[in-house]
Amino acid sequence: MSNYLYILWIPLLPLATFVVLGLFGRKYFAKTAGMIGTASLLTSTLLSIVAAKQYFFVDGKVNGVYQKIIALKYTWLQFSPNVSIDMGVIVDPISVMMLIVVTSVSLMVHVFSLGYMKGEERFATYYAFLSLFTFSMLGLILSVNIFQVYMFWELVGVSSFLLIGYYFNKPSAVAASKKAFIVTRFADLGFLIGILIIGFYGGTLDIGLLIEKFTSVQSPEFISITTASFLGASMLTWGLVLIFMGGAGKSAMFPLHIWLPDAMEGPTPVSALIHAATMVVAGVYLVARLFPVFSMDEAALTIVTYVGAFSALLAAVIACTQTDIKRVLAYSTMSQIGYMMFALGVSKNGGENGLGFMASMFHLFTHAFFKSLLFLGAGSVIHMVHSNEMKDMGGLRKLMPITHAAFLIACLAIAGIPPFAGFFSKEEILTAAFHENKLIYGVALFTAALTSFYMFRLYFNIFWSKEAAAKAHHSAGHDESHDHGEGTWTMKLPLLILAACAVGVGFIPFSQFITSDGAALETHIDMAFSIAPVALSIIAILLAASFYKSHNAKSDKAVAFFGGFYRAAYKKFYVDELYLFITKKIVFPLIGQPIAWADRNIVDGFMLLLANTTAKISTAIKGLQSGKVQNYALYFFGGVLALSVLFIYIWK
């Protein structure tokens, strides 16, 4: 086993960048911040690639099984001999894979932002926040201790909050950042309780030890946690479901998804980084990290499965109706993460049955590339058109050929058309679902078709459709100097690289590297099996083409046909309104206001009483301190006299 200590530098470099840019950026690096951030992240990316190469091809494998290596473990807070909060670095297949995903997507976003954010007033701050986010995410990935996960989890939440609210003078961005923070915080409450339950019964917070204890049926910890029950479910189920609640909050699973579409108020490259490829898959990663424990509990896995599948379907339906291109992408992200979740849910731990796990990780990997490509492409388009609305776009394919090509590749990838990346991972997920649960398979298949439909609705609306409108918009475009074409090379380069990835990463023999138990898994794409999803996708694409390729009335007819259902989907099925109703009509008046009253009148009142009494007494007696020396001498003699009397006549 060789030394992996250098992996520590992968998160530490962005941290250093954050500190330097955060403290001195505005003054000294106002122009060069982007280059500094990009350079430090490039180093991290190269280190990750070196680490991946070393782990996967040189020394990670022992007897054909990839080992879990704890490269570093530093006991930070020791509560008792067994329970401690550690900081450490874990090296295993999924963490190494996530390293690659996070650093490379983050690097692409850094490069893209060089052009996209150019001229922003808080350019250095932006890069400082990006670095903070990258650091937190990398720390989260490398965690050895479930509490370390929790800490980085919160850091990720904070940096996401900062980045969504980057345009802090825009009220909608401020509201969105608060919403994202509060919703995920609420979910994290569940996560924390889950950690405490698991930690209490497991007697440790170390992930490796927890997995060891809870996967052997005879261990006293396992017996105690499964026999203890609360409201008819075992404590293991409760702990895991609560941990999953934290994951669902970050990964925007129903019903905690409401923050993700609003989070699109942030700068588009940020959406590509946080809300497409990295932070939102943290929930999936968390479940994958604890997967051996999840696999011991049927009930928790069932919840993961159904929440994932329902979210996938719901988000896909909503995505078909939205007109803001970033929101469409946000719902598509939610839908794809739903895929990853239910793939985990239908999986078993180890061997052939671990197909779902491997498929989920594979989809996470491929999704990161094509989804960040979609977001960056959308960023390019928004940069050009200065609008997020579909109706302001159309016919852009001639104006932005590179973006057009990249976007088309990404759309084909997410639609699962061979030989693009999404096809391979989606096939694995569908296969896993088919073998385990036919209902889920049906949902997944339908969602796949919907995905193709709404992605190509987006594609045709942006790049085809009303040619004249785009031209009119263009020539009427305020002044020509404002017109900057497709963007700088720093904006095109990431698109090209990511497009290459979106084509290529599907061919990686993923099952050789990342499986639930570390041993290689034999998979094969069954051509006959692939016919149904691919055919459905193609039909959906053709349907989208007939609706949206040129402006016609077919789409309006379809809208009229679905009527109320369309309106409900357009309004996101009123989930936001439901939340508002619950909070404004139930939580605030019935719980919030009484508590506020008690706070103002009882808690504050008691303190005010103390303060007022003190003030009154002091006003009454402050005359004693007159500033006249002779008065003080008089008190002194009076005191001496009183003491003398006391000593002489009373305490004889």
Binding site: G623, Q625, S626, G627, K628, Q630, A633
Partner: protein, 104 residues
Amino acid sequence: MNEIPLTHILFVSTALFFIGMYGLFTRRNIITMLMSIELMLNSVNINFVAFNKYLFPDKLDGLFFSLFIITIAAAEAAVAIAIIINLYRSHQSIDVDDATEMKF
């Protein structure tokens, strides 16, 4: 020779003490107040010496104490004069009623 009884001496010292106290409370001039304090200290000295002489003739503790008190009184006078000079510089007066800033 007929010895002076202890009570006479105590009477003198008590009178001296209360004369000093009266001066301390009635005078407004700080130097006069300082002198009053000296009176009070000296009344204590007389007490020490007298008790030593009449009650414990073979011991010297009372004498030592009075010597200490004289020393302290000298030091105290030096410090007090320094304070008074500074007070005069800042207030152009050595009347205690003019220096009452240090109040609530």
